[in-house]
């Protein structure tokens, strides 16, 4: 069991004043089987009344509006979350698991996770890629996933800023470079093609100095995949790191693909260009009984270690939220 404190700062700067900003935010980690969000707070400047709801996948949504004129909008999300180590996976499943997946599909309950979606859809390039890495349905579903994980990791190089937030998978497949969002979309599209329900997870990954070895992730925001396995349930797979998910993965939201779960989604009035900077800081804390007021009394100010990912000017404001 691990406890993490997370600071997630987002700042929009507009080159001229805007008004009537409306925004919805998906930054609060989910509370479900393996994870509990113990505290979450979102501060908005200019000040706004932040309301909460949840979407049809039970992801928490915070939303607000700012009617008056402003040229800067900042979000400060503070989180305390507990994550459990997932149960160890077997080496493989019975071959009959395929049959179980078929029966399951016939009920329609996994429709969303078996049907191509905006970003995770089959393309001719994906089919070529599948045969190149020897992706087939021969073995049991878990073995297929393990091989696919290796295959994607070996064939595509993790390269920050090599694709854009709205890039279709073909860009990464063609250039053989991508970020975690691309790795995830490619894996999801292939798993669905094989009849394995698959969904996109938007989240954070905690990287201490040990876990940094062997990976070169540039950011604490991350994305990975969950696949549904008979007898096991939803299983986290991290194709960017060629690993299964462990207690360092913190799940914020799940969806069919990135389009369902961007950290922020907003509309404003005014013809301004916006510039976005994002900083995320995650710290592991040993103490299981963190006093609640820690979250409220100002200990959690921005620290030096907050990494601001360089700002982008020309592209749409969402650009930087790409999950790397």
């Amino acid at each position: 069991m691990k406890y993490y404190t997370i600071h997630h700062h987002t700042r929009y700067r507009y080159d001229s004043e805007v008004r009537e900003s409306t925004m919805e935010v998906r930054m609060q980690p989910r509370t479900d089987r393996q994870q509990r969000c113990l505290n979450f707070r979102l501060e908005v400047r200019p000040q706004a009344r932040v309301l909460t709801t949840s979407d049809c996948m039970q992801n928490a949504i915070h939303y607000f509006d700012i009617p008056s004129r402003h040229s800067e909008l900042t979000l400060r999300a503070q989180t305390l979350v507990m994550v459990q180590e997932p149960d160890p996976l077997p080496e493989s499943l019975e071959e009959s698991a395929w049959k179980e997946l078929e029966i399951d599909a016939a009920t329609g309950q996994h429709w969303d996770w078996l049907t191509p979606s905006a970003f995770a859809r089959p393309t001719p390039l994906l089919s070529e890629f599948a045969s190149e890495i020897g992706f087939d349905k021969d073995k049991d579903p878990l073995s297929v996933i393990s091989r696919l994980n290796e295959g994607i990791h070996a064939a595509i190089e993790y390269t920050p800023n090599s694709t854009a937030v709205d890039s279709p998978i073909d860009i990464a497949l063609k250039n053989r470079r991508g970020v975690c969002q691309d790795f995830s979309h490619i894996m999801i599209a292939l798993l669905r093609k094989a009849g394995i329900p698959a969904r996109y997870i938007s989240g954070y990954i905690f990287q201490d100095s040990d876990s940094m070895k062997g990976t070169n992730l540039s950011s604490a925001t991350h994305a990975w995949v969950e696949a549904f396995l008979p007898g096991i349930g939803w299983t986290g797979i991290d194709p960017t790191n060629n690993s299964y998910v462990h207690a360092k993965h913190i799940r914020i939201a799940l969806g069919r693909d990135y389009a369902d779960v961007p950290p922020t989604r907003g509309v404003f009035k005014g013809g301004a260009k916006s510039e976005l900077s994002v900083g995320v800081h995650i710290a592991e804390t040993e103490d299981e009984d963190i006093p609640q007021d820690l979250l409220d009394n100002g200990h959690w100010t921005t620290r030096d270690r907050v990494e601001y990912e360089g700002s982008l000017g020309s592209r749409a404001a969402q650009e930087q939220q790409q999950q790397q």
Binding site: E20, T22, E24, R49, L51, T53, D55, C56, I61, Y63, F64, D65, P67, T107, G108, W111, D112, T115, R265, G266, V267
Partner: protein
């Protein structure tokens, strides 16, 4: 006497009267609204026929011109969307009313109440438990693959569980004389203003005619609609209700202004509304005013750029979250379009049996789903006989009428069907009934349908249908397409007090 098979009981008919009907065709395979097969007029039409014969052609022509002028002066128009341009037209109007007996109407009324109630129960079920899908009565893939399925509506509580409160269902009369449902319009059905305008013009042009007939009134539609919208909010009569229009370029803009006026509510565009702290406000000259109900005439995809089309400027950013929070009522609800998908239509009789345990009072038209292999094979083999429709289109767009199609059109549809079978259904080419119309100095028969307007209030007994509806006419001889966008017109529709 008998003229071209048309008989009247009047033995003193003049020459001019005979020539008036000289082009009137009767065909045993098509139900004629005015004449029985033996050429005698049906009971409800007897007085009308008498009046026509007394008035003669020149008089009828004058009244037709007076009617046209009234429509023009009132600006009762609609817009035809073309590929390159859009054209604003006067809605063609035929002065001879279509008449329905009370007995016939009562069956239609009961049948539609039953149908719309079942459809609303279906919508609630699909967006909550999904029982009908789990039990396989309606295939889940048909629903989940529907373009108008709104997954964000899953688990969202809708005011009074009323999803489709304002509905227009299209009925046709089959050769047997039975009415059957051709389609249901559950998103933003239009046409009711023409129904009301037709009646108004009719009373001006033929004031004498109404005296001889006991015709059920329809003028209360606006108030009935307002009351229905008020029941959707706990504030009731104190609620602030607005009509949200896409704007002046919409084909039904006339109707939007008309309905807002008769209800005495504000007509607004998206930019007139804003969301603050989860509530909807209207900008007024004296500041912001809270809005409780939006009668929206904008499709789902355009109501909120934050949730649906990000490029759309028609809607109100953040509206969906206010809606999800229960702070605003939308009529109709988001997501009703799954039930007017033309493939889902085929399952409405099943819905009636499933939710109500009743047999459908009004029948469906036999429908082939191209999604199913065997039915698609049949459709592809019989493209020259069937009517093929794209499931998500309306207004007569995306349609192939087999017997009147060219080989090239059929090949075009064949490849479209093979590419996207889910998107197409086919039905037999129907012999819509024909009604008398006054065209170029003659009374002639033209194909008609009927669109009654249903106001659903949560139960069958709370449902209001003003008697009649909009009778649409395919004005071109032989044409089966009644849509205003495709050269159709309309006429006043009378439901008689018991005779």
């Amino acid at each position: 006497m008998a003229v071209n098979g048309v008989t009247t009981q009047d033995e003193t008919v003049s020459e001019s009267a005979i020539s008036l009907f000289s082009n009137y065709a009767l065909d045993g395979t098509i139900f004629d609204e005015m004449f029985q097969e033996n050429g005698r007029p049906r009971l409800p039409y007897q007085k009308l026929l008498q009046s026509i014969l007394e008035l003669q052609a020149s008089e009828l022509t004058q009244r037709q011109q007076a009617a046209d002028l009234t429509f023009l002066n009132r600006g009762i128009t609609f817009t035809v969307y073309g590929e390159d341009s859009t054209i604003e037209r006067i809605f063609p109007y035929d002065i001879l009313p279509r008449i329905i007996s009370e007995k016939e109407w009562n069956k239609i009324d009961r049948g539609l109440c039953q149908r719309i109630h079942a459809i609303n129960l279906f919508l609630r079920d699909v967006y909550h438990e999904g029982r009908i899908l789990q039990e396989g009565k309606v295939p889940f893939d048909l629903i989940y693959s529907c373009r108008n399925y709104q997954r964000e509506m899953r688990g969202v509580k809708v005011s009074n569980d009323v999803y489709a409160s304002i509905v227009g269902s299209d009925l046709v009369r089959l050769p047997s004389g039975e009415f059957a449902v051709l389609e249901d319009n559950l998103r933003v059905p239009s046409g009711v203003s023409y129904m009301l305008a037709n009646r108004e013009v009719m009373t001006q042009v033929f004031p004498g005619m109404f005296g001889g007939y006991g015709i059920k009134p329809i003028g209360h539609y606006g108030q009935a609609l307002l009351q229905q919208l008020q029941t959707l909010t706990p504030k009731g009569r104190d609620a602030t209700i607005v009509l949200l229009t896409p704007g002046i370029f919409n084909s039904a803009y006339f109707e939007h202004t008309f309905l807002a006026r008769v209800m005495g509510i504000e007509l607004v565009e998206g930019a007139d509304l804003l969301i603050h702290d989860g509530f909807v406000y209207m900008r007024t000259t004296s500041g912001l005013q809270r809005v409780d109900v939006i009668y929206r005439r904008i499709d789902d995809e355009f109501v909120d750029p934050l949730h649906f089309h990000p490029d759309s400027v028609l809607g109100v950013p953040g509206l969906f979250n206010a809606y999800r929070a229960g702070n605003i009522t939308l009529a109709n609800a988001i997501g009703t379009g799954i039930a007017d998908d033309k493939a889902v239509y085929a399952f409405v009789p099943e819905m009636i049996r499933y939710y109500l345990g009743e047999e459908p009072i009004l029948q469906n038209i036999e429908t082939y789903l191209c999604l199913r292999d065997d039915e698609r094979a049949y459709v592809l083999d019989n493209l020259d006989k069937l009517v093929v429709k794209a499931v998500g289109e309306s207004g007569g767009y995306g349609m192939l009428i087999g017997p009147y199609s060219t080989a090239r059109e059929r090949e075009d549809f064949r490849s479209q069907i093979q590419e996207e079978p889910r998107n197409f259904i086919a039905q037999p080419t129907l012999s819509l009934s024909r009604a008398p119309c006054f065209i170029n100095g003659h009374v002639v028969s033209r194909h008609v349908d009927l669109r009654p307007f249903i106001l659903y209030g949560g139960e069958q007994e709370n449902t209001v249908i003003v008697p009649g509806g909009l009778t649409r006419v395919a004005l071109r001889e032989g044409s089966l397409v009644v849509n205003s966008s495709q050269g159709g017109g309309s006429k006043d529709t009378w439901v008689l007090q018991d005779i």
